[in-house]
Symmetry: C2
Subunit: 342 residues, 2 copies
């Protein structure tokens, strides 16, 4: 076991898009677990859009990471040493241990991962937070039903790729929006969406192009819009909402690096004439039903009904680059940092 | 009985705010009822914000009034002659007979009004469409609960004045937004809202003033925002939404005369971090429950729990002026045109 714990600290709050100088790599001694603690070794670190919010000190649903604090993040780790009866050395666990090689834990909020079920890093994807977000967002917030048209933005991303596949599994039509021809191909050919378009193919007016493409691919209109991106793509999606449509507002990644709120056409009037609903959600509001969601996702995964792809960056030292690339849409499927061999 | 039927026709589709030249007064003979018809005499005409939508040919939930068509509108009328067993001459009825002195009807969608219950024009207000809109919008769409803070825009208008009073009746806190010191006084002193502010008192930045006032009057945040106006007032209201807040999007009167969609700050990100919901609605989606709503409103009215005020314009010839004044906020409570004595 190494004696040094590498930690990525928040050096400064990003102004606009994060830069390398906003992150600082520190080295501290690997801590020793106390009587009611365990020491874990990070194997996989998840980089996700929501982390951009934690880097800002704007009022939000969660406290920001303090300056010089260890960056937050979901991880899969191995128990190195434990004074907790429930967690044996060698066990694989999932929790929010942050951007570091080692962490101490009292076991609260830590889930034991079954390595026989699927590769352990799926606990950060299909069988973890993104999977639960897609599951509850589509079925509970979005109330997607068989035969309906489900439009998914960020369709090649971790949550979007699953939301569209769950739509297919329940018998809905899934249409994706993704950035780049490769992602569009992946979404349709590999993941089984009915159709998708490349928003980056817009020439002049983004909004007009997006609206035309959504109209072409959703000739029956949009019953559920699963939104990961916000901005002009979402403006266009609202135009095609059906009567009594539901918008599951999962993320707004196009807006996360804006220093000033971006202006856009006002959308509430569309909700009135369509008697439609837009609802924001955070996965933790479904905490009491995680077991249900994970069981369903595991069943579908075992049955071969859920495909997934990972974009893996090797080495904790490259975590900021992996994070910034993900914010730019550089990932297909789940963006992960492999920190150590399992 | 007069032999001439005056009718207000849509002369041209308004560009921006409607003008007198968009309306044309025609005179036609009073028609005679056929075997399965009745003839009604308009007593009261309701002018409401939604009619602005009917004057445009933009895609909406209802077909537009055709050019040279009689303008649509809710009315209370007296049966003059009837070949329908259910409707006796002399009966008072409510339906959408339009901007005219006389109309033929086959009785479909016509409700008999009980003059002993309340003044008959309340069938266009507390005991009619605005009352039902406030009732279902606040309690079903808004899911208002005792102890919560309900913020109402357009609080001195027909729907808003009732929404705030229903909030009080169920034990919630009601805060109003209205235009002018007189309206604010009316809302608090006469209607019993807990507090209200005058959005017209803003000096420089409307948005900053509105937000400061909402923050001052809703120190516990906003649980339900009942929105009749949209625009900058609504932008400010979103800032103060509580976790799991509901926005009942009833109307967006500030936007109805815009030729181009007005730009504003994007609001969906606020829905995510607050896990909040914005839902548009139209009263007719509750048609199967109108009896429930009218019974509750009638009970509260008889018990003295619902106050109301009317802004009455005398004479059908002044209907366009009454309509345009209402669009500018010239009314307190319900804007009505008195067409004939009952």
């Amino acid at each position: 076991m190494a004696s040094v714990n590498r930690q990525w600290l928040l050096a400064s709050r990003p102004v606009g898009f994060p830069q390398a100088s906003d992150f600082r790599l520190a080295e501290t001694p690997v801590p020793k677990p106390g009587p009611d603690q365990m020491l874990v070794r990070t194997l996989w670190l998840s980089v996700d859009p929501y982390m951009r919010g934690r880097m800002s000190d704007r009022k939000s649903y969660a406290a920001p990471v303090p300056i010089n604090g260890v960056l937050e993040g979901g991880t899969v780790a191995r128990v190195e040493a434990s004074n907790l009866p429930k967690f044996k050395a060698g066990a694989i666990v999932e929790s929010r241990f942050g951007w570091q090689d080692y962490a101490l834990s009292d076991g609260k909020g830590v889930r034991i991962v079954d390595p026989s079920l699927a590769p352990v890093q799926t606990a950060l994807f299909v069988l973890g937070m993104p999977g639960l977000t897609a599951y509850f967002g589509l079925l509970d917030i979005g109330q997607a039903k068989p035969g309906e048209t489900v439009l998914v933005s960020g369709a090649a991303g971790a949550v979007g790729s699953l939301a569209g596949q769950i739509a297919k599994i329940i018998g809905a039509r899934a249409v994706g929006i993704a950035g780049g021809a490769d992602k569009v191909r992946h979404v349709v050919k590999d993941l089984g969406f009915d159709a998708a378009f490349d928003y980056k193919a817009a020439r002049d007016s983004g909004a007009a192009y997006y609206s035309a493409e959504i109209g072409r691919l959703c000739p029956q209109g949009v019953d559920v819009y699963f939104d990961n991106v916000g901005g002009e793509i979402t403006d266009a999606a609202f135009i095609h909402l059906n009567d009594r449509a539901r918008v599951a507002v999962c993320g707004q990644i196009s807006q996360y690096n804006a220093e000033q709120p971006e202006l856009g056409p006002r959308l509430l009037g569309q909700l009135v004439v369509k008697r439609a609903r837009a609802e924001g959600f955070l996965v933790f509001q479904f905490a009491s039903r995680y077991a249900e969601g994970l069981n369903r996702m595991a069943e579908w995964l075992k049955a071969g009904k859920l495909k997934y792809r990972e974009t893996i960056t090797e080495g904790l030292e490259h975590a900021p680059g992996a994070f910034m690339s993900m914010l730019r849409g550089g990932n297909v499927g789940k963006a992960l940092v492999k920190v150590a061999d399992g």
